[in-house]
Symmetry: C2
Subunit: 335 residues, 2 copies
DNA sequence: ACAAGTCGTGTAAACGTTCTCATAACAATG
DNA sequence: CATTGTTATGAGAACGTTTACACGACTTGT
């Protein structure tokens, strides 16, 4: 492996000039530049990144940590971040936390150890090793949440209006004549689950004839299946089910199948997220679209502004969602 | 940010000793070790990775590049690699190539620039910037393929027996009485598509009454939908369709729906991969299970042996697959 | 008592960059 | 002609580690 020194020697210049050819080409005379470039090509020179970051303290990398890489919802978000990042000359380091705090910490450590310039976390959490720094120094961190506002207001974040999104779904179902609606939430602790449930109840306030029964899932297909079976087996089963993720809705569909129920004739179903599969389900799923790619763009933009010292006061951004009515929701069956 | 020198000064030892406390703790006296450890904790010392890799030329990172992070099939593989990697103290850098050669090159460059110790590529390709090195030096590279043997035999790889797996599916369908079978392949250029098609034809040799019509897809849901519609609209449509990926099978299901066909009563369907969604589709999908997690383990193991200089002659490994018959395949309808 | 280990530690030279100064050559200005 | 400014380059000091080598203090075996 040849170094910048080799190139310098071969081209008859100093290492400083070679360095400049790469980072500030206009500063070096055209002839010299061409000669250096040619030498670099001839030697197959590739700069040593470790040395570069040791010197500059910049890695041009950001970590994106998602709770479940298996979920297409996360994948879309990653795509968005990746797009914005590579446009700005940054590489994306991807982390799959599997909803595990320890793994989350590990990825956060990468920014503490300066293996990456910043951290984007899908979810509302704050890794403790970053919180420590924040509490000690009080200075803002190269860290941002997506899809969930942290309870700590100092931490920037981007999300949709979960409360109103959920409310719209319930209104949609109520308009179709559904009175008994089952909700399958994500883990209750998550602020966005809470927001969505608050949204559900806000509708109930205006339509007191609504009967809402909420159970707790974990966003997985299987929990959607299990919880739906429970709802169906209850004494007075709902005529519509609202899953707070499309994956759980997929499980619900399997549960309907298991009980011989036809959707939407016998029971209606709504999901949340609008993953790519939603439109291909059987029947195509009514759901709320979260603009995950735009969220990725936006989140990176904010982080990047911070990294480049671009003065900015933007802390939190709310993006527009969209209710997408497909065929899984229909009129409530006549009792 | 405190350095190893700060810790050394505070603890009254040399930087060498501090370094040893981290990398070879048994070499340093217990009392000293405790003192150093305490000092490190007090100062909140975190080692600078850039300096470390500059010195050692090791990053303890491997890049895993997959063609489509959105595909749960890839995700499972990543999980497998990640598991094996973190057990061995390696971090995984994830790359989403989106079937794009340029992106593939970019990730390969990371190992050339020593930003990572090795590259795992899902697919049969060889990035040109690595092939160059291989051709120039002739020495083996820290590079391995998964799910597809490279035409270049010098490159290690792990995959299943695609030929026989596909043959088993066709036999399964033929046993159910299907005579006209449609195949929706991935891009023809891919060796594993070729292998599977060869497998299909190997069955045809023994059962000459089979009519096979193969069309080319691109593994995406949408191509599955489109190609299936074409097959259904042909003069003598097949009674069974075999998609070379579960995602395309999902598209096929949507196509059936669009044409008012009930699966498996009117038409049978088989997929390939056994992604997590396969069992939850409507109807649950008959498919071939590829052991993606084990493949991840195995692939990392081979790469790791190479990296640690463990002498090994294993170049290529074939893992066991499994035909999983679910409800999407049934007896051929009576003409 | 001496030679030959072992053990714990320190010294200092790398690793490959970047970047601040310094300098030299030349042009423009008074 | 002296001064000032501009432009292209070089010298060399960091950046924070690891590690080969050296050394002194013990232990052990003769």
């Amino acid at each position: 492996m040849s170094t910048i020194i080799d190139v310098a020697r071969e081209a008859g210049v100093s290492s400083a000039t070679v360095s400049r050819v790469m980072s500030a080409p206009h500063q070096v005379a055209e002839g010299t530049r061409a000669r250096v470039l040619a030498t670099m090509a001839r030697l197959g020179y590739t700069p040593n990144i470790a040395a570069k970051t040791l010197r500059t303290l910049r890695t041009d990398k950001v970590v994106v940590a998602v709770p479940d890489i298996t979920n297409p919802f996360c994948a879309q978000f990653i795509r968005g971040v990746e797009e914005a990042a590579s446009a700005a000359g940054y590489a994306v380091l991807l982390g799959d936390t599997r909803y595990d705090k320890n793994r989350e910490e590990q990825y956060a450590m990468m920014v503490r150890r300066r293996e990456a310039d910043g951290l984007i976390l899908l979810g509302h959490g704050t890794p403790t090793c970053l919180r420590e720094v924040l509490d000690d120094s009080g200075r803002p961190l190269p860290f941002i949440n997506a899809c969930g506002f942290s309870p700590d207001p100092r931490i920037p974040a981007v999300q949709i209006d979960n409360l109103h999104a959920a409310a719209e779904v319930i209104e949609h179902l109520a308009d179709l004549g559904h009175k008994r609606i089952g909700i399958i939430s994500g883990p209750r602790a998550a602020p966005n689950s809470k927001d969505r449930i608050t949204g559900v109840h806000s509708v109930q306030l205006e339509r007191p004839d609504l009967e809402i029964s909420a159970v707790e899932g974990d966003f997985s297909i299987n929990s959607g299946l299990r919880r739906t079976l429970e709802l169906l087996d209850s004494p007075n089963p709902p005529t519509a089910i609202f899953c707070l993720s499309d994956e759980m809705a997929m499980g619900a569909l399997a549960a309907f199948r298991e009980r011989g129920l036809t959707c939407p004739r016998d029971i209606s179903l709504a999901g949340f997220d609008d993953i790519a599969y939603a439109q291909y389900m059987n029947p195509p799923l009514t759901t709320v679209r979260q603009p995950m790619e735009s969220m990725g763009h936006e989140v990176f933009r904010i982080l990047h502004d911070f990294l480049t010292g671009t003065p900015s006061l933007v802390r939190r951004v709310t993006l527009a969602h969209q209710l997408i009515a497909r065929e899984s929701t229909g009129p409530a069956p006549k009792a």
